[in-house]
Amino acid sequence: MNVIQTNSLTKTYNGKGGISDVTLSVGEGIVYGFLGPNGSGKSTFVRTLLGLLQPTSGEGYILGEPIGTTKSREKVGYLPELFRYPDWLTGKQLLEAHAELCKIPVRQRKKRIEEVVELVGMTGREKGRISGFSKGMSQRIGLACAILNDPKVVFLDEPTSALDPIGRKDVRDLMLYLRDQGKTVFLNSHLLYEVESVCDHVSIVHQGDMIVQGPWRELMMIEAQIEIVTDQPISVPMPTFVTHVEKIKEEEARTRWGIQLENEDDIPKIIQYLSSNGIALYEVKPITPHLEDVFMHWVNQKKESAYVDH
């Protein structure tokens, strides 16, 4: 059974914005990245799944239960994008209230709260009032809240927006830890590196449309790009699998080039080709495409296919 399943799920705000026609299925034990620029509808989608928004059309299921029902939210955790918690509570009281709402048996509550506080690195600080928490601390306590009930699926809406680099790594480790425990993590993000480092599967959304979905590596491999440094101009003609060459920078005796290839397998080929033609390579490094490039690639692809369809 799919952990999350939607069929043409659509949520618009009076016909505008939101997200349209999303059909996806998310399996067990993976980190699923929902990637898109600002305003593409990521939060709208998650909030619809959690029953906070009323779907305009289509249907969705969480763990087989139709969205909007209380049952569909029993084994779910959520960290909202605008994480605001009642600031008159202490971190611990907040977790206690949520434990109560999740019907965690009284005897296990204390232990479970200690566990999750530990997991998000808030041990010792959970007794402070939330009003005195920094933004990062609030986000951490929100994460603790999201995993409190040992959920089967956790929705994280930009979970590192307020965190420092160490915090980001902690969150990444937490996501991998959850995955290794067989949980599903649904990650909303507009940060390429965040998605890249943890996600097994990705959807790309743009202006309320789902552009493409698939395994992360496949989507990213729209093209292979490398940067090389040579000591002379490249005088030999380039093989056909090179789609683009540009000079990036000339510094004294060295020249830096950007080279675009058809796919990853062409990287060793081009290195060998240049070396055998007597060009000395001082540096070769693969360039991860920019998120915008990946987006634009798939967005254009989608437009083209739409054009072909009609």
Binding site: L52, Q54, K71, Y78, L82, R84, Y85, P86, A97, H98
Partner: protein
């Protein structure tokens, strides 16, 4: 549901405004006590040469009941304001701050959430109203000199206080309903204006009863049906001042007591009204995007 009620309860108690309210209530009670004390001292001299004729007693009783009426009227006013202020933000406030997201994503229904809020608010406001009611009665009966003490049976008090708490009950239900759809500010304005309208409606009805004009009475009755607030206050004074010994009921006349007597049906109407409004709130909140 109880978790939400408990949270609502705790939230109010933990806010600074709660402390301020308690202090201001004590100030109000102290002022009232002082007023009663001096009125009690001076009041004995009412009447020609302090002679205690029948007429004098009637005048004293009238003044005394008016003083109690004033105290209760302002208590009812304070309670109403607090009920309005606490309920109009109950849902809209949490929606606009997005705090509600983390509660509603839990396996609780919208209905449970609304009930939780309502019960939490109603319990605290009713407790407040009861304490205020008995404080006023105790001050009045205790500090006022002998002549001030009105003949009020315990049963009358219990009945009266039960009617007294219907007002915050209805106002909370109503504030909550508005809160599911409107911003806090708008809901607050609508509630207060309606409260004012109910007051004026009640006044017109009293006036109508006094000069025996059915049309005016009907206006009052209609406002009571739309917003059964003022009628509850008047019913409460009727119960309280309905002295068995006194053929001429003390409640007859005066600004803060009542001329017309709202029927018992009206009391039940108000209770049912409150409950229906809670169900309307649930209905209104059920399909709403937050």
């Amino acid at each position: 549901m109880w978790t939400i009620s408990k949270l609502t309860f705790k939230e109010i108690i933990s806010k600074r405004i709660f402390l301020i309210t308690i202090i201001m209530t004590l100030v109000f009670l102290a002022l009232y006590g002082t007023a009663i004390y001096f009125a009690g001292k001076e009041g004995t001299q009412v009447g020609p040469n302090g002679v205690q004729g029948t007429e004098t007693i009637l005048v004293q009783q009238f003044i005394s009941s008016q003083l109690l009426g004033v105290g209760l009227y302002f208590s009812s006013f304070i309670t109403a304001l607090l009920a309005i202020l606490s309920s109009v933000s109950a849902i809209s406030g949490e929606v606009s701050s997005h705090q509600i997201d983390t509660w509603l994503m839990r396996p609780i229904s919208r209905a449970q959430f609304v009930w939780g809020k309502f019960v939490g608010l109603a319990l605290i406001m009713i407790a407040y109203a009861v304490v205020l009611f008995f404080s006023i009665i105790l001050l009045h009966q205790g500090i006022g000199k002998e002549w001030m003490e009105l003949d009020i049976q315990p049963m009358q008090m219990i009945k009266a206080v039960s009617v007294f708490v219907i007002q915050p009950f209805v106002l909370i239900a109503f504030g909550l309903l508005l809160s599911t759809r409107m911003t806090t500010l708008n809901a607050g304005i609508v509630s207060i204006v309606l409260y004012g309208a109910a007051f004026i409606g009640g006044f017109i009805e009293q006036f109508g009863a006094l000069i025996e004009k059915a049309a005016l009475v009907n206006i009052g009755v209609i406002t009571s049906l739309i917003f059964p607030i003022d009628s509850m206050y008047r019913k409460m004074t009727m119960i309280l001042f309905d002295s068995i010994d006194n053929p001429l009921s003390l409640a007859q006349g005066g600004m803060f007591t009542s001329v017309s007597n709202p029927s018992n049906v009206m009391v039940w109407y108000a209770v049912v009204y409150g409950i229906v409004v809670v169900f309307l709130s649930i209905y209104s909140f059920k399909k709403r995007d937050v």
